[in-house]
Symmetry: none
Subunit: 230 residues, 4 copies
């Protein structure tokens, strides 16, 4: 697929490169298939045979790319987590006030939640992971939590956000966001971006300082352009 590179047969390097790439592509294909299956049927009901079947390979072939079923589960989770963390670092490095940062976090996280790997972050059962992986998972969750709480704290400090209970506020926001991973189905009437934009305002409306009071009211009232449900 990506083999438009010259790749003279004499050089062992390029073939090796392309081989490694092919390997990585296959690996990711497995993850994409697996995450879908796991989301559809649940981790335990989904069998590796089904994963393999959907990929037109055989079950043992999966073991060329992953050590175990649990490994696959974990790597799915890692995929989602990496995306979240990438966005977080990106957003945190861009400096805006607390409210702006929070809204960007919400927007980014909402969009990710509407993806398979994103949903896997909240729909997989931590208890299905090995002890060490559970630790990693929890650390990841904590980092996300911290990002949201930090933004809120910063907003309170810079007066872009009203004083409030940081922890509960973060819980409420993250709850609404995580839930997207449960109800969002592609092909629904709202695109991930629309949901993300709407939630960025909606979930911060009650704690945003007056500054944007008027606009926020408007936005809160009609956040979604497309066919308001009344």
């Amino acid at each position: 697929m990506d083999t438009r590179t010259p790749a003279p047969e004499s050089s062992p390097w390029l073939p090796f490169e392309s081989r490694r790439r092919a390997r990585d592509e296959k690996r990711e294909a497995v993850l994409r298939t697996a995450v879908q299956l796991f989301l559809e049927q649940g981790y335990h009901r989904a069998t590796l045979n089904e994963v393999a079947d959907r990929l037109n390979i055989t079950k043992p072939a999966l073991y060329n790319y992953f050590r175990s079923k649990e490994d696959i589960l974990f790597e799915c989770w890692v995929m989602g987590q990496e995306r979240v963390e990438d966005r977080i670092t990106e957003i945190e490095s861009a400096d805006g006030n607390g409210l702006a940062t929070l809204r960007m976090l919400v927007r980014a996280y909402a969009a990710i939640m509407a993806s398979d790997f994103g949903a896997s972050l909240v729909r997989f059962n931590v208890a299905d992971l090995s002890e060490p992986n559970q630790k990693i998972t929890l650390a990841g969750k904590r980092r996300i939590d911290r990002a949201f709480r930090n933004a809120i704290k910063q907003g309170i400090a810079d007066h872009s956000i009203k004083s409030c209970d940081v922890k509960l506020t973060a819980f409420a926001i993250l709850g609404a966001l995580n839930w997207v991973g449960h109800w969002y189905k592609p092909g629904g009437e709202l695109s991930p971006d629309q949901i993300a934009d709407d939630f960025a305002i909606r979930l911060t409306a009650d704690i945003a300082k007056q500054l944007d009071k008027k606009p926020s009211e408007k936005k809160a009232a009609k956040p979604v352009r497309k066919r308001p449900s009344r």
Copy 2:
């Protein structure tokens, strides 16, 4: 045990009654044990042997009360759902304006989410139920959804709630609430009632009409008396 009633020995009633009661109590004990185990380890990792062990009985004894493991899972869900529906009917029959109703719903639902059977509503995997039970489950979820949406609609109609996208608003609120079922651990620093009270205000703050603007601000700012998390 419950025989503090007169209980004339001639009456065949009490033995029978008490037997039936004993049976119902045992049945419920199974459910309480099972729901805990399922929440701790997940439905599939939890074995009926463990359930039985915790109850000091043997595995087949469970089959006196339930037809199958799936049956137990479903009945756990039913327990939670019944509690929710009871509260919903109660709240809907008490007439208040839309906002008041919505807040009562939030408060009630939040408290239930902090219980085992409540959490089971959102933490069990629908795919683990039989086809017919899945249908029942979905119908239940829809009824809850409808209750929240109706309250919002009514609030918009009676001007206690700002005009807003009903569906997304309901999703956001229910998302924050459902998430309680995932993070709440008994013994934490907030009691279910405190969470319930806080969420009742917090999750409706942005859509509540100005009337209670001032108080809501206060409440939104310091909703929880107990040790604000900074």
Copy 3:
């Protein structure tokens, strides 16, 4: 039920008598129900619960009359065997020539095969009985075999039956008869008696000596009055 006997309460005897009778009646009712169920579904698929249900009693109640499920199975077989042996003794004591005896045996056995207890003799699996009961069963089968072989031998001796291989002849006759236990369904177009009469002639036609040649030919041609199947 059958207590139309005087049965003054003062006399412990009659109540006892009637009690014993009631007991025997119940015992037999169990057997009648069980044999039907075993024939319908097979011994292993049929559960004692089903037997009990059909009798409107509970499973453990069965243990008042029988020691085990296998015991029930065996007693069903005994019921059939007793009927056969009764008829055999009866027939053997009535003296006729070999052919006449054989025909009476065929007639009697065919009729029994069309009954539940009779069918149980050939449709139950000997391997489902305990070792000692298997022995008893086999002994019973041998007695039946012997009766038929003896009749044939006697017939050969008294010239009512052609010379033939006794063993194979008996096998063929008993095979055709035992098969009745497999195909006969009450309510079919032939009554047990009709089948019995027909088989008495049919299965002996080829070995019967000429004496009744003419009549036998007639009978062999149209043995069954009722609706010949062409």
Copy 4:
């Protein structure tokens, strides 16, 4: 085993072919072992573990070849049924008069009944099969029945067989034949072929037309050369 073909090592065909063959051979080995065990102990008493043990494999390995225990049972039955049907088609296509056809059927069927797969046709319990397989089974039984009845009808039409009740005649013949599946034990004093030859004459003696009267008498009298049982 069958690799006397040139088999150039370069050909990918043979490995594949031989693998498929090996698979089929193993599959059949399972059936042969299973049918024996089922006949010895009965379907329910026989466990898959025993089947596997006799084959020196483990229980789950059986599931590579069969979907379930019932599937094995059914396939045993199919093996027997196929043999019968093959012979039936063969015999029916060879044209002889009704009597000749009938005798060939008897001979063929008797021989099959003396084999394991043949006996399984009459010793397995139809109630142990799934609903759809029961239907198939019954259809098979009907085809056999029809073959025998057709031969008889044809014989009556072409005057090789006396006029008689077709249905009962077929029942009697098939009964005697099916019974072979119950009593025949390899190593007995009669070989399957001897039984088959004998029954071919014996079971048709009474309905065969006079033509072969004299010879039939002889044959009926001394059908078996080998050590008459008296």
